[in-house]
Each structure stands twice: as structure tokens, then as C-alpha cells.
């Protein structure tokens, strides 16, 4: 598949932005799959963490349409197991923030079912990750 020059520029800018926000070298990933193997939320994701890393290496913005970064629970398992020292948890946070900083929240905090039984710790943590 041949890409036009402006498409390449857009993709490179996207990957650069993710690297800037996460502070991680996306191109260090050599697709070993350990992050996906250890991820406790992987069964609910429509693209597993190692696939997200591969797509990011191509600057493929379809990663923003996947639910991966929202199903991520910031457990850091991927971070501590990556043999190349990539903090994939930070990459997931970067993807969340790219979306959230366009003023689109991932949840509507006014419409939470069963809010009466939820402890503050859950609400505060959830809003930090799901709202901008």
C-alpha cells in the first residue's frame, strides 16, 4: 500500500505526539507480546496492547477508535514486563489524553448507575482516567 506524502507526515506527527506525551520510544518495541500476555484486561480489548504498539509504529490513527486504552486499568503489568523497558501504561495514558484533550469525556459523570453504593476512591480514580 503506497501512502501519499501528506498522509505520511500526518502519521509521523501522530506517533511523535504519542511519544511526546508518553515519554516512550514507540520504535523500541520488537513485538515480543509479553505486554499482551500479562495484561489482565486483554479479553475485553478489541486490539491487544502489542497490536496497539505496532499500529503506533505506523502512525495508524485507528488506534483512537479501539477501546484498548479505555479498558486499560493502569495496572502497570505491561510496564514492568517489557524487555525493552517501554512503559506501555504511559502510552495508553497518552492515547486517553489525546482524546480527552479535545474536550470529549469517555463517560458522562452525571449518569452513573448505582452511584449511591460507589466509594469515593472509585469515583475519583475513574474520573481522573475517563474525563479531561
Amino acid at each position: 500500500m503506497e501512502l501519499k506524502e501528506d498522509e505520511i507526515a500526518k502519521r509521523e506527527e501522530f506517533t511523535r505526539r504519542v511519544e511526546e506525551l508518553s515519554g516512550q520510544n514507540i520504535f523500541a518495541c520488537y513485538q515480543c507480546g509479553r505486554c499482551s500476555a500479562g495484561c489482565p484486561m486483554v479479553s475485553k480489548m478489541d486490539a491487544i496492547p502489542s497490536m496497539i504498539m505496532r499500529l503506533l509504529q505506523f502512525g495508524d490513527m485507528r488506534v483512537l477508535e479501539k477501546n484498548t486504552c479505555w479498558v486499560c486499568a493502569s495496572c502497570y503489568t505491561c510496564d514492568v514486563r517489557c524487555p525493552k523497558g517501554i512503559d506501555i501504561a504511559k502510552v495508553m495514558e497518552a492515547l486517553r489524553q489525546i482524546k480527552l484533550r479535545t474536550n470529549i469525556n469517555n463517560i458522562d459523570i452525571g449518569k452513573i448507575e448505582g452511584i449511591e453504593e460507589l466509594p469515593q476512591i472509585a469515583l475519583i480514580a475513574n474520573f481522573r482516567k475517563n474525563t479531561g
Partner: protein
């Protein structure tokens, strides 16, 4: 004849330059310049919160806030009034809710988004510890939230500047209502008085006051004032 020239200062109201006498409050300065404050003026005594003002001093970058009726206009001030903050008030029935630790978050979930940046405290013209009472709410400490927010005049400046979109003063109102209804110690004198009222102790007196004419009422009021002054002396 000596001309007693009043010293004037320059103020910018919504971007337009005006010369106003020195020594006026911001509110008087705005009115001197010819504006009629319909929404942005109330008690004129620092109590009602209607005259929230955002201003900047000459040669500074900081946006400051104050109540227009309580702050003196200064030379070179750039100012504008915020007559109304359209903040949302949650609907609740005080009789039906309980003062559980989570109750305020249920009606104002955005309180959980507080990042402790302290912008609200810096925006308060009453120098209240706004962030501290929001933190108390997060913690489920309704009594402390009620105590710290007690002198709030609901001017809305905190809500206008909050990055987490919290409506501090409405949430505080809920805290104070819960505190008054469920947590404050009941006053034995209040209960006694309510009983007296229900038993009709004051019915005669009230009936008499209602049927009294305006002249009679004025006469009695002046008499009472005179007696009170005599007692003091």
C-alpha cells in the same frame, strides 16, 4: 474663589476608558460612568454576592476577583462585572436523603474531579477556604464542609474559574442543609418555641398585629424605640 478640584482616576469598564473621582468603590465608579446596574447590584454591603467582578490592575498580568461594592477603584484598573453564573443546581429532597459519606458526590459527582489546584480559594472575594471545604466533601466530612462554607455569598466566581467544572457553592449549600437537618445539635429553645407556637401561644398577638392599621403600628414602633433608648441610657 478657590476651585476644589476633585482628583480623578482612569478606569476601563469593559474595555472603554472613563474618568471617575478617586475614592469610589468599583460599583460606584461603574455607575458614575453612566452604567445602570440591573443585575450586578444588590445589597451594596458585601453580603448578597450579586456584584462579582473580574479586574486587572495597571501593568499586571493577573486577573483578580472581588465584590464591586467592597473594593475601591484604582487608577488604571481594567474591570468587568459578572452578573450571573448559570451554575447547575442538583434536585434533591432533603427529607429523603441521608448524610452518608458519599451523599454529596451522588448529587455533585464533579466534586470528585477536584485536583486541589486551589484556584477556587484564590477566586473567593470572602477569603473562604474553598478548596478545603471541597476536600472535606470528598472525604465525606459534611460538618467541616458546612463550617468552612458558612460565609459564602454565592457570587459564583469559584465555579467560573474551576478547571474541574465544580459548582462549589451549590454543593456547599447541600452540605449546610444536611448539616442543619441531620448533624447539628438540636436547640432545646427552638423546640420549646415551636411547641408554644403550635399550641397557639402567639395567635392572639399575631391576629392583633395583622388587624392593626399602619398608623397605629408606626406609633407603637416609635414608642418601643424610645423605650429601648431610654433603657440603654
Amino acid at each position: 474663589m478657590e476651585e476644589n478640584k476633585e482628583k480623578t482616576i482612569k478606569v476601563y469598564i469593559m474595555g472603554k476608558e472613563h474618568q471617575v473621582p478617586e475614592g469610589l468603590t468599583i460599583m460606584k465608579a461603574i455607575e458614575y460612568a453612566g452604567y445602570k446596574l440591573v443585575r450586578g447590584a444588590g445589597c451594596r454591603a458585601g453580603f448578597c454576592g450579586a456584584c462579582a467582578t473580574v479586574y486587572r490592575k495597571a501593568n499586571e498580568y493577573k486577573l483578580r476577583v472581588a465584590l464591586a461594592c467592597q473594593t475601591l477603584a484604582e487608577d488604571g484598573m481594567y474591570l468587568t462585572e459578572i452578573p450571573f453564573v448559570p451554575a447547575n443546581k442538583a434536585k434533591y429532597e432533603l427529607e429523603k436523603i441521608k448524610p452518608s459519606p458519599n451523599i454529596i458526590l451522588q448529587y455533585y459527582p464533579e466534586v470528585a474531579r477536584c485536583v486541589a489546584c486551589n484556584t477556587c480559594t484564590k477566586s473567593c472575594p470572602q477569603d473562604l477556604k474553598v478548596m478545603d471545604y471541597i476536600q472535606a466533601m470528598k472525604r465525606g466530612d459534611i460538618a467541616r464542609a458546612a463550617e468552612l462554607s458558612f460565609d459564602c455569598v454565592q457570587c459564583g466566581l469559584c465555579a467560573a474559574r474551576c478547571p474541574a467544572e465544580i459548582v462549589h457553592y451549590h454543593a456547599a449549600q447541600l452540605a449546610r442543609r444536611l448539616y442543619g437537618k441531620y448533624l447539628a445539635k438540636p436547640s432545646p429553645n427552638l423546640e420549646k418555641r415551636i411547641k408554644e407556637i403550635e399550641e397557639g401561644k402567639y395567635d392572639e398577638e399575631i391576629k392583633r398585629l395583622k388587624s392593626m392599621g399602619l398608623e397605629e403600628m408606626k406609633k407603637r414602633y416609635m414608642e418601643q424605640q424610645k423605650n429601648a433608648e431610654k433603657e440603654e441610657a
